[in-house]
């Protein structure tokens, strides 16, 4: 074994990997589907390969195959996985057990779920090392403390005594990385390790992971859907789609000179041409000094918030989780009546409570949600979903209604054939389009878009954003666009409000908000958005003025 390692420098060699699973469609016989079609890859010692693709691309499945593991009935049915010169698929269960946690370790997307709530962190971090007998307990704990320090965790000496629920999400993700590194493996599989984190936390974790990989010379498979993230840590990138290889090359080549059309689409996904509109003279909706709290709690989720929305324009509200951006939407719609302050619409104040608002006011404010599949009644057809506002607000029924529904479907670039479909029969992007059509049916002046693209794959999200801009031109509807994703904001906003802990910290026209000098938080936020550029991470870390809240 040592010989072959030394000879080739090759650590992992996956050849013609085929992975299948059995699916159970309702009311049909179970059938086999192929998740990964004959994918091959090689990874040299100490190198990092990024696996990238949209959901269903098979990237996690391939990553886990290097440990001989299939999640939930997934089976490796063909090919070879050669690790350190031997085909691990021939080793059987016993062979897998010996390599897991010793030669290959795993870092999961949600460390919060992946740590056992019943044990202290240190016991879990050193468990694999002790199990495989590569170090004594004292040595392993010393090594772990060293890793905690390297990953810049606070109180590295004592953090191991804590239980998982006593540590924040960003820190847990780093502890999990320490856990993977502790048994000094040859390969670590990182499975979307920063996806669940806020953007300002992500950058710290990413930097910690990158440093740790560099210093320990471990090889890694880095799985993510975010090309900008993977460009920071990988030597090579492999693009996957529907379980097939699209393109595989050096990081620079993939992001600068993609050879495949699909890769090109992924690289240029954030580029939408949008000319910023100058704010008009009078806003039609003004939020003035709004303060709100949930229940009788003393913690104010919104503190003295004021923003204006101009006809036919987009106000983007940006912030991380807990910044109060969704609460602002609830206050405007009347779902959470503000404690203080007013919302004026067309020059007159809107009733605070939803129940006190006339139908006409309700019609003028429509809403689109993040999760399109729970925003539509699963027992109603697309026709009913889009048609109901027409009936409800305008009393349009029968054939006239069907005609209008068909027109709306046309507007969202879906055919008439969808009118009798149920939401479960639509793809993620189609569902969100139907929700857009439902809000358009009311002919509103304002649509509140609450993270409408964050649950979608990048390309699909791109399509939705283009559609929204297109519709804005046609219908001259205004958007209140709530998001955590600054790239989206740059593509579609006319003005921007940056929120932090319930307050608006920066507000104005897009060009003004995105031009220095910045306040400390906006600077942190802007500098944390990964850019598709090699070396961005180091630059960003160096240039920061404020520590992120998640640490």
């Amino acid at each position: 074994m040592a010989d072959s390692k030394a000879k080739s420098g090759l650590l992992l060699d996956i050849r013609n990997l085929r992975i299948e699973a059995t699916v159970y469609p309702p009311g049909e016989a179970p059938k086999n589907i192929v998740l990964v079609h004959d994918v091959s890859l090689t990874l040299e010692k100490g190198k990092v390969l990024g696996l990238i693709g949209e959901s269903g691309a098979g990237k996690s499945t391939i990553g886990l195959s290097s440990m001989g593991y299939g999640r939930g009935g997934v089976r490796i049915t063909g090919g070879e996985v050669i690790l350190n010169g031997r085909d691990i698929l021939k080793g059987g269960k016993e062979g897998f057990r010996k390599l897991r946690g010793r030669e290959v370790c795993y870092v999961a997307q949600s460390a919060a779920a992946a740590f056992n709530p019943a044990h202290r962190l240190m016991d879990q971090v050193v468990e694999a090392t002790l199990l495989h007998g590569t170090a004594t307990r004292a040595e392993a704990e010393k090594r772990a403390v060293g890793l905690f320090r390297k990953l810049s965790l606070p109180n590295p000496e004592t953090i191991g005594e804590r239980f998982p629920h006593q540590v924040s999400g960003g820190q847990l993700q780093r502890v999990m990385t320490a856990m993977a590194l502790c048994s000094e493996p040859d390969l670590i599989v990182f499975d979307e390790p920063t996806t669940a984190l806020d953007v300002t936390t992500q950058i710290d974790v990413l930097a910690a992971i990158k440093d740790a990989i560099r210093d320990t010379h471990v090889a890694a498979l880095y799985i993510t859907h975010d090309l900008a993230v993977v460009a920071q840590v990988s030597d090579e990138i492999m693009v996957l789609r529907h379980g097939r290889l699209v393109e595989w090359g050096g990081t620079r080549q993939i992001i600068k000179e993609p050879r495949q059309e699909y890769t090109n689409a992924l690289v240029s996904v954030h580029e939408i041409e949008h000319q910023e509109q100058q704010p008009g003279t009078t806003p039609f909706l003004s939020v003035k000094n709004v303060t709100a709290a949930y229940g009788r709690s003393h913690i104010k989720v919104l503190k003295n918030v004021s923003v204006d929305i101009y006809p036919g324009q987009t106000l983007a509200v940006v912030g991380e989780s807990g910044s109060g951006k969704s609460t602002l939407a609830r206050a405007i719609t009347g779902l959470l009546p503000p404690e203080e302050g007013t919302v004026t619409f067309d020059g007159r104040p809107l009733a605070n409570k939803l129940a006190d608002r006339p139908k006409e006011d309700l019609r003028q404010l429509q809403m689109i949600y993040q999760m399109a599949d729970v925003a539509m009644n699963p027992r109603q057809t697309v026709g009913t979903i889009i048609g109901r506002p027409l009936e409800f607000y305008f009393g349009i029924r029968g054939r006239e209604r069907d005609k209008r529904v068909a027109d709306l479907l046309d507007k969202i670039e879906m055919g008439k054939g969808f009118i009798d479909r149920y939401p479960a029969e639509l793809s993620g992007g189609q569902k969100q389009r139907v929700c857009i059509a439902r809000s358009l049916a009311a002919k509103p002046k304002l649509i509140i878009c609450d993270e409408v693209t964050s649950a979608l794959d990048p390309l699909v999200a791109h399509g939705i954003l283009e559609l929204l801009l297109e519709l804005q031109k046609e219908e001259s509807v205004a958007y209140l666009f709530i998001t955590h994703d600054l790239a989206t904001v740059k593509s579609i906003a006319d003005s921007i409000a940056v929120m932090y802990r319930g307050e608006v910290v920066r507000y104005g026209a897009k060009s003004k908000v995105l031009t220095p000098p910045f306040d400390a938080y906006t600077d942190l936020l802007l500098s944390s958005v990964p850019e598709m550029e090699i070396g961005w991470l180091e630059k960003a870390i160096k240039g920061r003025r404020m520590a992120s809240a998640g640490n």
Partner: protein, 274 residues
């Protein structure tokens, strides 16, 4: 949409058996070879060509008694289930949608009722109430409605916070639309399978009460009562009491099979990988 060939065999068995029991109950006077109270032979005659299931403790034809017993058992169980279901689900939905003091009051009351085992509570109440069909149905229905209330309230609360219900509220829809058009269609599948389970429970509960001598009173007898009538024969090796007991078990299993299938069919809208 429903293809008989696609119904799994256990569910098919359940449907057929349940249908047989129901038919026997409906057409009892035409099917039963003898009258309900008619004494046709000796005490505890064994099974024979004339008396397929033998005779009971008074010499009545056991098969005929079983068929009439099906009638009483199903009649009471169906009415009690209907009562518990309509009461429980209406109050449960209302509590979920209206919330506030109405919800708090009802939920605490239900907590209290459920903190005593149903059988014990029923025995306590039956010790002072007159023993007749109406009391029986009311006691069974009201005590059991607590379970339906909990389920339907939980289901409705879950649905009530879904974005599509919020969307309907934002649109300005009234409570009637929200309960009947948004919540009810989505609550139906767990409730339908619960209906089956509540019915089984009603059958078992009625049988237990009758077996203890507190349910249907002689000369009428449901299956539980027939077990009581014939239980003294067991020690002499006479299995007459086991026949109605087995009938109760068979009915409960068949309904269970059907309810299981309904639940599986309706919850797996999307299918899964496993």
């Amino acid at each position: 949409m429903l293809d008989i060939k696609r119904i799994p065999i256990p569910a098919l068995i359940g449907i057929v058996l349940t249908a047989l029991f129901v038919l026997a109950a409906i057409f009892a006077p035409w099917i039963a070879p003898h009258g309900n109270g008619e004494i046709v032979g000796d005490v505890w005659e064994p099974m024979s060509a004339t008396h397929w299931l033998g005779t009971d403790n008074l010499g009545r034809d056991l098969l005929s008694r079983m068929i009439y017993g099906a009638r009483i058992t199903l009649f009471i169980a169906v009415l009690a289930t209907a009562l518990s279901f309509s009461l429980g689900s209406i109050l449960g939905f209302a509590a979920a949608v209206f919330g506030g003091w109405f919800d708090t009051l009802l939920s605490r009351l239900v907590d209290l009722l459920m903190s005593i085992p149903t059988l014990i509570m029923a025995l306590v109440v039956l010790s002072v109430l007159p023993t007749n069909l109406v009391t029986l149905i009311l006691v069974m229905g009201i005590l059991d409605s607590t379970r339906v209330y909990r389920l339907s309230r939980a289901v409705a609360v879950d649905i009530n916070v879904m974005d599509y219900v919020e969307a309907a509220k934002l649109r300005g829809e009234n409570e009637i639309w929200i309960i009947f058009r948004e919540i009810l269609p989505n609550a139906l599948s767990p409730l339908v399978s619960e209906l089956g389970l509540r019915f089984i429970y009603a059958v078992l509960f009625l049988s237990t009460l009758s077996f203890l001598g507190l349910g249907v009173q002689p000369p009428d007898a449901d299956w539980g009562g027939m077990v009581k009538e014939n239980k003294d024969g067991i020690v002499f090796g006479i299995a007459a009491a086991l026949i109605p007991a087995a009938a109760i078990a068979a009915l409960a299993i068949s309904v269970n099979l059907v309810a299981d299938w309904v639940l599986n069919r309706t919850t797996s809208l999307k299918g899964g990988r496993g």
